[in-house]
Symmetry: C2
């Protein structure tokens, strides 16, 4: 049973500090008068808190170029949030490539780097590519490794809370890998590992196709689709971190594997051979009948899988990303079939972030972690945004 | 932006009041010394708050039989929660029957009543059966209608927040019915309408097969299954209240309707003819090959539908209820297939509440509503249990 332990002055100071910092994060430099008005705090409180934030390195007096110009008299001092007080990395580790995005504490991206990697690469090779991509982006932006406050990582598979990959069929050597622990050796800050589709869902909600909704399903459409979902704006990982792994549904139905489904010959495609898959779609557009039948089988399967997610979760918006989202003729049948058969059909949108979705979501998760530290106040009282 | 507005004496009084009431709801009569120890509040505060609760009718001094017996001296006064200070109804409105459960403010059931109703009954007829069942249970228990504090209702279909049925294929005249509004004419207290599978999920979590888990899916298994789910202990309704309506999944796959799937002739069964369905299962047990094939098709479909829910949501426990849960041979294949194909298979349990699940969940929803009024304190500060 919780009880109010009112009147803790340090708690109050932290709340006021978070309130002022939040008001400053909008971007513009603010005067003390602005802050008093925005926060509803008294002027002496705002002054004291701002001094504390300056000492902590999170706030700085704005330079002359950010100040208003007055004909006479001394201009009012203005303060701004120091986005450069710390940096964040968002990393995607995928079958074909690794990617890294770098931002300041405001989440604005200031650097990016990618490295190709063979589908068959070992875990060590893949991690070496990650380190190389990260070193490159840090070097090019001149950001010191020690300035990193948090690193987010998006990767295929079921990921435990400690960053261990419990199960991953897409990347060699990935199942059982203590990915969080391995990466923490490269960074002296928290490393947060998340399933790639989950990260992409977060990204599309942050700055993609679903910024206006808190109830979304992101479908990472490939041969075997995965999904991430936000419920009430919060990532739904499931009890064991396996929510959205809808690709296994056809196994339950004893259906064909997707690599057989989309093959135009008697041989299945290689599950990660996107080039061969794209060729089937190209052939279908040319009118090749076997290819058209294969694409139809593939599309029906995707509709069925997305339908299962929609019926189970009833999201407001479905965002379709992953390489298959870029294929012609995927979205219209998805929209039509969901509208026909779902009791309350969702909006269906194409990913706006495309290839950047997973790394962007990983970056957002890193930012969430840092913001929790900057803004959270222990217990049940939090500043609402 | 939220800020602490500390030192509101009426807020503090309400918090303390909720804290003391919560301590008393455990069941046993308590002395003021007990309450001081249990709540951490001062003795004068406990005394003042208890007086207020007695005036409000929620607490009473316990009778002599509830007091400790002492050889000498005056025994300490004991106080108990007045569960009889108000009453709650949980109502199921189903295709074949309506049922009502009555409880005091402690949620303990003190009366029950059911009425059969024809599948083909009109909405008015069905509501008349509801009123009759309710009048009967109130009369037999001697509880006045005016003593009802809240009524919960569970019914098939997609239900809007105001209690209007947006869509229901199972009951004639149900789609578009302002069910909440209609029932509010019979009661002078809040009426909360909920989808039946959602209500059953709440019930199994409260006092059924899933009391030890906060992440559950309840499957209302019939010819066409529906589902309700709790995520982190909270009901997941979906953006449009349609979450869990997995029965539509086979439509997306252009599969047979369930009434065709389970037929042993060329004619489909009537979708709500449970007797005919049970006969198919009986024939299958006798070794009838057509019946065995029909049961196998039905079971595979159920496994597929439940698999879709499990892959989308990743619950800790799946509880299977509804009439099909009582059929022989349903659970073992469900357990086996989920264990084989789900990346993280959930526990699969049979409903413990059986036919009572929907009404029990409706009762719990009514109780939740009243408890919110008794215990909730406005704003962001709430007493944790």
């Amino acid at each position: 049973m919780g009880r109010l332990t009112g009147g803790d002055p340090s708690l109050l100071r932290r709340i006021n500090s978070a309130v002022v910092l939040h008001a400053l994060r909008g971007g513009d430099a603010r005067t003390l008068t602005d802050l008093t008005r925005l926060t509803g705090l008294s002027r002496p409180t705002v002054e004291g808190v701002t001094e504390g934030l300056i000492e902590a390195g999170l706030v700085v007096e704005a330079g002359p170029e950010e100040r208003e110009v007055r004909r006479q008299g001394r201009p009012a001092r203005r303060f701004r949030f120091r986005a450069e007080a710390g940096h964040l990395l968002g990393i995607e580790i995928g079958p074909h490539r690794v990617a890294a995005l770098l931002s300041g504490l405001d989440g604005r991206i200031i650097g990016a780097g990618t490295r190709g990697v063979a589908v068959t690469a070992s875990a060590d090779e893949r991690l070496e590519r990650v380190r190389s991509a990260v070193a490159d982006v840090l070097r090019r932006t001149g950001v010191a490794r020690g300035a990193l406050r948090a690193v987010g990582v998006g990767t295929p598979g079921i990921v435990e809370a400690d960053g261990t990959v419990r199960l991953c069929t897409a990347l060699p050597g990935w199942t059982g890998l203590a990915l969080g622990e391995r990466l923490r050796r490269s960074f002296r800050c928290p490393v947060l590992v998340e399933n790639d589709a989950n990260a992409a869902a977060v990204a599309e909600h942050w700055k993609g196709a679903a910024i206006d909704s808190d109830d979304i399903v992101f479908v990472l459409a490939g041969l075997s689709p995965g999904a991430g979902s936000l419920i009430g704006g919060r990532l739904h990982r499931g009890f064991g971190g396996a929510a959205g792994e809808i690709g296994a549904l056809h196994l339950l139905g004893r259906g064909d594997k997707p690599e057989t489904l989309l093959s135009t010959t008697d041989e299945p495609l290689h599950p990660l051979d996107e080039h061969a898959v794209a060729e089937v779609f190209t052939a279908a557009r040319r009118g090749d009948e076997r290819a058209m039948a294969a694409v139809d089988r593939f599309t029906q399967r995707l509709v069925h899988d997305v339908g299962a997610l929609v019926l189970a979760l009833d999201p407001e918006v479905v965002v379709v990303g992953g390489w298959a989202a870029g294929l012609d003729g995927i979205l219209p049948p998805l929209r039509e079939e969901l509208a026909r058969f779902c009791l309350r059909p969702p909006r269906v949108e194409l990913s706006l972030l495309g290839e950047a979705a997973v790394a962007t979501g990983a970056l957002r998760l890193a930012l969430d972690h840092v913001e929790e530290q900057l803004f959270a106040v222990e217990g049940t009282v939090t500043a609402r945004r």
